[in-house]
C-alpha cells in the first residue's frame, strides 16, 4: 500500500485545481537508440537517414501547427522557429561533419552536437540566452525519437485527464498535451520565461513547475491532486481529500465568476470595520491578476524565483532593478507594495547553487543570514530595489527583511540598506526617503520581542509557515509528522497575539502573509486578536473579502476571547466551526484552503 497524502511543493504558474492519474514522461535519455561507430562507406547512409529524420520531424511540427490553425491562442510561432532550427544549414553541416570525421551513426552525431552546443550555451550567464538551449534540446530529442523509429507525435499520447509528470516539456509536447485535454502539468525544471509555461497559460492547463522531487514520489497511475494556485501537489490523497478537492474544483468555476464581480469592493466586515486584503506575488506580471482579484496592495513580493532562474547572475543589480521596475510600473498606486529581500536556503535552494549544503538547513545560514554573509549579493538586490523605486516615487514602497532574529540583526540589515541609499544618492540617483523598512516575524523569538522590534521597524508581516514549523518543530513536508502542523495551536495563537498587540500599541502596521491568512478560521481569530491586514495569493482575495462581509467584528472578538482559553487546536477549530455554522460551510474560501 502506498503512502497516503504525500505533499510536494513547486511554483504554481497556471492556477486551477485538478485531480487525475499521473502519467510520467521521461526525458530524452530514456529513449532507446543505438550509438555505434560505422565503417566509412556507411557515412553517406547515416547522413541520408539524418536528412530524412529532419524532414519527418519538420513535417511532425507542421502537423501540430495545422491542428492549431484557427486557434486564437496560437503559439505557432514557437513551432515555426523549431522548424527553422531543424532545417538550419549550420546545424545540418555540423551533424554531417561529425558523422564523417568521427565515423559515428546519426543518433550519436545528434547527441554529440547537442553536447557541444550545450557547453557553449551554458557558459553564458544571461537567463534568456541560456534558456534557448532548451529549444535545441527539444528538436534534438525529436530527431532522436524519429531516428529510432518512434513517432514523436505519438509517444506522448496520454490517457485522458492525465496529470503529466515530466522533467521538462517542449512547446510542441505541451501543445499536443493541451489539445489532448490533459488535466494538469507538473515539471521538475522550472522557468518563468519558458515557452512551456506560456503555452500552458494559453491553454489554461493548471501547472506547477520546479517540483524537484516529483519522480521520486510519483508513480505511473498514482492519483494526484494538483493545486495550481498554491503550487502544491498531493500524491495518493485519501478519500476525504479527494472529495474535498473534487467538490471544490467543480464548484469553484461557477462561484469564481460571481465573486470576481464584487471583489473590488473594499475589504471590510459586516459592521464596516476596514480589513485590508493584500496579495502575495512571485512574478511581476502577476500584478495584473492581483489587481483583477481586488488586491488593495502587495503584502509580499517574493524575489527567490528570480535567483533560481538567474543562477550565476545572482549579484546582478540590473536584474533586480528590471524586475522591480516591471512590478512597479504595472501597479496603479494606492496601497503598499512590499518587496521582500531574498529568502533563500532551507527548502528553497537555487537550482544550481554555489552555496554549500548544510546538515540542518532549516536552522542554518538561510534567508537574511545568507544575505548578511554575502553583502555583495544583498546590496545588488537592495540597490536594484531603490533604483526602481526612484522611478515611481509616488508608490508606498516597503522593503522587508525575512527571518529577522534579533534587534541587532535588523539594525545591521537596515544599515546596509541605508548604505546603498547613500551610495546611490552620491551617484546621482534621486530617491525619496519615504519608503518603509520592516521585518518578517516568523521566528518565535522575534514575535516575543515584537515590542522591542517595533521601536526599530516601520511595519511587520507575520510569516506563519516558518513560525509554525519552528515553534512546533514540524516539517509539513514530512508525512509522518505533517498532521502536527497546526496553526491553531494555542502556543502559536498566543505568540501572534503578543505581536499584534505590541505592533498596535506602537502604531506599527502589521499584516499576516503566510498560509494562515488563507484559512478562514485562523484568519478570523487573527481578526479577533486585532489584526486588520492580510496578504494572500490573489486567487483567494475575492473569497476572503466575501467571507469577511458575513461577520461582525464584535461577534468575532467574543468568539476569539473564548477560543484563546481552549487548550488544543482541535478544540479551537471545533468551537469556531460550531459557532460560525453555515457561514463557514457557505464560503468557498474554506474549501480552497482546507486540507
Amino acid at each position: 500500500m502506498s503512502i497516503r497524502n504525500v505533499y510536494l511543493f513547486g511554483q504554481g504558474v497556471v492556477p486551477g485545481i485538478v485531480i487525475g492519474r499521473a502519467h510520467l514522461i521521461q526525458g530524452a535519455n530514456q529513449y532507446a537508440w543505438t550509438q555505434r561507430h560505422i565503417p566509412p562507406e556507411e557515412c553517406a547512409i547515416e547522413i541520408d537517414r539524418l536528412h530524412q529524420a529532419v524532414e519527418t520531424s519538420w513535417q511532425q511540427l507542421e502537423d501540430i501547427k495545422e491542428q492549431l490553425a484557427g486557434d486564437s491562442k496560437d503559439p505557432g510561432h514557437i513551432l515555426e522557429a523549431h522548424q527553422m532550427m531543424l532545417r538550419d544549414q549550420d546545424l545540418q553541416s555540423s551533424f554531417e561533419k561529425i558523422i564523417v570525421s568521427e565515423r559515428i551513426n546519426a543518433e550519436w552525431a545528434v547527441l554529440r552536437t547537442l553536447g557541444a552546443w550545450e557547453e557553449r550555451f551554458l557558459r553564458i550567464e544571461n537567463e534568456y540566452i541560456r534558456e534557448r538551449f532548451s529549444d535545441l534540446r527539444f528538436i534534438c530529442t525529436r530527431l532522436l525519437r524519429t531516428l529510432s523509429g518512434q513517432s514523436a507525435n505519438e509517444v506522448i499520447a496520454p490517457p485522458p485527464d492525465a496529470v503529466i509528470i515530466a522533467t521538462e516539456l517542449s512547446p510542441a509536447d505541451t501543445i499536443l498535451l493541451g489539445r489532448n485535454a490533459v488535466a494538469g502539468l507538473i515539471t521538475v525544471r522550472g522557468g518563468k520565461t519558458s515557452h512551456t509555461v506560456i503555452i500552458a497559460k494559453a491553454f489554461e492547463i493548471p501547472t506547477v513547475v520546479g517540483v524537484s522531487r516529483a519522480f521520486e514520489h510519483v508513480g505511473e497511475g498514482d492519483l494526484v491532486v494538483l493545486n495550481g494556485h498554491k503550487g502544491e501537489i498531493i500524491v495518493n490523497p485519501d478519500a476525504k481529500l479527494v472529495s474535498v478537492y473534487r467538490t471544490q474544483s467543480h464548484r469553484m468555476i461557477a462561484k469564481d465568476q460571481a465573486l470576481l464581480e464584487k471583489c473590488h469592493l473594499p475589504g471590510e466586515t459586516a459592521d464596516g470595520t476596514p480589513v485590508r486584503v493584500l496579495a502575495n506575488l512571485d512574478f511581476a506580471d502577476e500584478i495584473v491578476k492581483a489587481k483583477g482579484h481586488g488586491a488593495e496592495g502587495i503584502g509580499l513580493y517574493r524575489t527567490e524565483f528570480l535567483f533560481m532562474v538567474h543562477e550565476k547572475d545572482i549579484a546582478d543589480e540590473q536584474v533586480h532593478f528590471q524586475d522591480v521596475k516591471e512590478l512597479l510600473e504595472r501597479w496603479p498606486g494606492g496601497g503598499p507594495v512590499t518587496l521582500r529581500t531574498f529568502d533563500l536556503g532551507g527548502d528553497k535552494f537555487p537550482l544550481t547553487s554555489q552555496l554549500a549544503r548544510e546538515a540542518n538547513p532549516a536552522l542554518g545560514q538561510r534567508s537574511l543570514r545568507l544575505a548578511l554573509a554575502h553583502p555583495h549579493i544583498f546590496k545588488a538586490q537592495l540597490r536594484g530595489f531603490l533604483r526602481a523605486y526612484s522611478l515611481f516615487p509616488h508608490i508606498d514602497l516597503r522593503i522587508m527583511f525575512p527571518l529577522v532574529c534579533s534587534v541587532r540583526e535588523f539594525q545591521t540589515a537596515r544599515e546596509i540598506l541605508c548604505e546603498c541609499y547613500r551610495e546611490l544618492s552620491i551617484e546621482g540617483h534621486e530617491i525619496p526617503d519615504t519608503f518603509k523598512i520592516g521585518a518578517m516575524l516568523e521566528l518565535p523569538a522575534a514575535l516575543l520581542i515584537a515590542d522591542m522590534l517595533s521601536r526599530e521597524c516601520q511595519f511587520f508581516s507575520i510569516g506563519s509557515n516558518d513560525l509554525i514549523q519552528y515553534s512546533l518543530a514540524v516539517d509539513r513536508g514530512n508525512e509522518k509528522v505533517a498532521h502536527m502542523y497546526r496553526g491553531l495551536h494555542p502556543g502559536i495563537l498566543r505568540m501572534i497575539h503578543h505581536a499584534i498587540r505590541a505592533a498596535n500599541d506602537a502604531g506599527v502596521d502589521i499584516s499576516l502573509c503566510g498560509d494562515l491568512a488563507t484559512e478562514p478560521i485562523p484568519a478570523l481569530i487573527m481578526l479577533g486578536l486585532g489584526l486588520r491586514s492580510f496578504s494572500m495569493p490573489p486567487v483567494f482575495i475575492p473569497y476572503a473579502k466575501d467571507f469577511l462581509r458575513t461577520v461582525q467584528l464584535a461577534e468575532i472578538e467574543e468568539l476569539t476571547t473564548h477560543a484563546m482559553t481552549l487548550p488544543c487546536a482541535d478544540d479551537i477549530e471545533a468551537f469556531m466551526r460550531a459557532s460560525l455554522g453555515n457561514r463557514l460551510q457557505d464560503t468557498f474560501w474554506s474549501e480552497i484552503s482546507e486540507k
Binding site: M85, D90, Q322
Partner: protein
Amino acid sequence: MRHEIEVELINEQGMHTRPAKLFVETAVKFTAEIEVSYDGLSANGKSIMGLLGLLAYRGCRLVISANGDDAKLAVEALAGLVNSGFNE
C-alpha cells in the same frame, strides 16, 4: 557591393529564439550574403542556429555586414529590425 553597420541589441531578451527567427526571415529576402559578428564570433545571418550561437544578449553590439547587389537594402532592413527591438 559591401555594406556594414553596427547596432545594439536593445530588446530585453537579446538574440533569443523569436528575434533570431525574425532576423533570418528578413535576411533571406535578400540575395546578398549576410554576416553578423559579435565578440570575435561571426555567424551566417541566414542561419538561426548561427545567430543563436552568438549568445548575444541585451546591450551587446553586433556588426551586420552584407555583400551583394542588395547589400545596402539588406543592412538597412536588418538594422531597422534590431533597432526596433524586434517589435517586442
